[in-house]
Symmetry: C2
Subunit: 398 residues, 2 copies
């Protein structure tokens, strides 16, 4: 299949491109390298040095003899999106190309508006360009489990049958997102569902949990193929950050009481889930949602797991609570469905001691690159001006 992957320079985008390329798909990647600049603004960087996307595409060709086509484009430029679809004619379009961080969207007014305008405009441009030039292409879009929030009922996959005053309907699952970033994903989901209904397009919305992991079978082929593993407060995620804190010899920081439960998955499973979605496309007119995660944990459980594994390696890791910078429930019911991808054949890589052991060892090699002052949360949800906001972090434009 021909797969065009938006956001090909990212933590998930680049490994997905290699994974699909190795399995015989013709892959194109698109990026505008915006995230590289956001990293610069915040003075954060991935743990490992990351080559440019051009260099990685070259290395991939050299190692595998396979071409990944590279497009440099901003998805807010409609002409560019339409032009790429006309040039590449994809069977599937995998859309990772958005501002991906909740804390980034909460730093200040400019970044909140930017996140929503950037993400919503990019997805609208993709939908309209597909309508115009590729109406049979299957859109596979990265959403988030965070679109649902934490309701006091079981979370279903995108839709829920509701009985109310003696009548029934199957309706979109109510959303209670927890940041301007998560809200942007909810907006995208509504826009996609509408486009599928009125234009008979086919789309899969992957409501993904929190991804962890530092490498995939493909990144392991060569150092030049590494993907951007973040551990900072803005772009890092829980397990990844805990592992880095353990290696850095600082406490593993849990936000508030740590009873926040979330769905998690290994980065390897992300790649397989996307492939399964592509190989089993939605039908014309169908908008479907897959809840994409393999296990649920609460944050304290995770920190304890990582700490225990670190201690086995002789590292005296400890877990500490910090004031929760977010406004969220710290103890709540959480039981989201996640059967659709399993039914398509997903065989999960569960979080294991072996995996954590290997992650910690990988991170150890780059211990000298850890910036200790970018890990603790400075962005606040509750309306207090964030420390980042005070830090002359003015808006440098999009």
């Amino acid at each position: 299949m021909k797969v065009l992957l938006l956001g090909g320079d990212g933590y998930l985008g680049w490994p997905t491109a290699m994974y699909l390329s190795l399995r015989g798909h013709r892959v194109g990647v698109v990026d505008n390298f915006a995230k590289r600049r956001w990293e610069m603004e915040l003075n954060v960087e991935p743990l490992m040095p990351i080559r440019t996307l051009h260099d990685r595409v070259d290395a991939w060709r050299e190692l595998t003899g396979t071409e990944i086509e590279l497009f440099v484009a901003d998805l807010r430029n409609y002409g560019a999106v339409e032009g790429m679809l006309e040039a590449f004619r994809p069977d599937a379009l995998v859309h990772y190309g958005e501002q991906p961080s909740a804390p980034y969207s909460m730093i200040d007014h400019n970044r909140a508006v930017f996140t929503q305008v950037n993400n919503v405009t990019g997805t609208l441009n993709v939908l309209w360009a597909m309508r115009q030039t590729a109406p049979e292409c299957h859109l596979v879009k990265l959403g988030t489990m965070g679109e649902y929030g934490t309701p006091n009922i079981d979370i279903e996959e995108g839709f829920i049958e509701i009985e109310h005053k003696g009548r029934r309907d199957v309706l979109p699952f109510p959303c209670q997102p927890g940041s301007f970033y998560h809200l942007s994903k909810v907006h995208d989901s509504h826009n996609m569902r509408f486009a599928c209904r009125v234009w008979k397009m086919a789309a899969t919305d992957l409501h993904q949990g929190v991804v962890y992991g530092i490498e995939t079978d493909e990144t392991r082929l060569d150092d030049r193929l590494a993907t951007s593993f973040h551990y900072d407060e803005v772009f890092g995620t829980a397990i990844n950050r805990f592992c880095v804190q353990a290696i850095a010899g600082i406490p593993l920081t849990v936000y508030g009481r740590g009873g926040q439960s979330r769905g998690f998955l290994n980065i390897r499973d992300t790649l397989r889930c996307v492939e399964l979605a592509i190989l089993n496309p939605a039908k014309p007119g169908e908008y479907r949602v897959f809840n994409q995660f393999t296990e649920t944990f609460n944050v304290t459980q995770l920190a304890e797991l990582v700490a225990a594994q670190a201690r086995q390696l002789g590292i005296p890791a400890e877990v500490a609570e910090v004031k929760n910078p977010r406004v969220e429930l710290e103890e709540h019911y959480y039981n989201p469905a996640h059967t659709k991808l399993l039914r398509l054949g997903l065989q999960p890589h569960f979080l294991s001691d072996v995996l954590l052991h290997s992650m910690l060892q990988q991170i150890e090699k780059f211990k000298h690159r850890i910036k200790r002052d970018i890990i603790l949360p400075r962005v606040k949800w509750n309306g207090e001006r964030s420390e980042l906001e005070e830090l002359k972090l003015m808006w440098a434009g999009a």
Copy 2:
């Protein structure tokens, strides 16, 4: 109370400003006159000649001795929004300032993206500026009943108690909006609910039905105070358009089978609803939704009502079906709740023969200004290029 009204040049904005001004509130109005330019692009105009907002404010002062303060500003300009809040210090902010037309948002790609970016950015700017400079101000925002779509269950006011697999929660009512415009209102609603939760702001989201009517007690004081009554396919609404078709001697056109049911209200009731919301504000941290309409009709019923009344005036009106330009259910269940505003004291002006009679007579006076070729639908929902799109209606910028 001090009330700042965003979108003060519009069909509802200007009458609301006068209504509140006459009742002793100190009123400021804000507009950037964007809609005047959209009218120019499409070569549509209100039935009656409409003075500039400056002239209307002057006429109001001359007639009543009361000042309505005028701000010229684009809500996408954050500095302007914050500046106005600092200068005016409102107790309540009434937000009508959005692109208000579903067909406009469906004309082409540019107008779809513009509608969402314009509306979402404006509301985000309002929320952030309130957080910074007026956290105790009450936001009263115009939403639409179209946010809900037409589910097969009773529609509640913003939230629904769901029992699911033995557990219960009260959750946002699921949304199935029917155009990129309606989607923009859903995005706004999600953003507002979040801001109320994390910043303890107070907001009322008025999910309004379809408004009809040509005048209010205040517009009747002087011809110079008229409000922009639209009857064209893009900015006109069902009853207003039917009345104009009757007077123009052309068939009253129903889209498809005409079984589409909607909530309707008289423009006079819009003003009273907004006043009731202001006088009975939401509490800090509260996001509430009022379904703002007084009766439901289906489109064929309405057309027949108008035609019957026209015939009583000696006009040989007839009803005709046209191919539905929209993608929507043409027969469906519809039973939305609307008790909250009644409980606050709303006394509805129901649609009556007397009202229709008076509207038809008013329109008769301006019969010579009716443009017959702007009434039938040219904008299509289904992905066919619209006739307007073919008409060299390029995007002239925002």
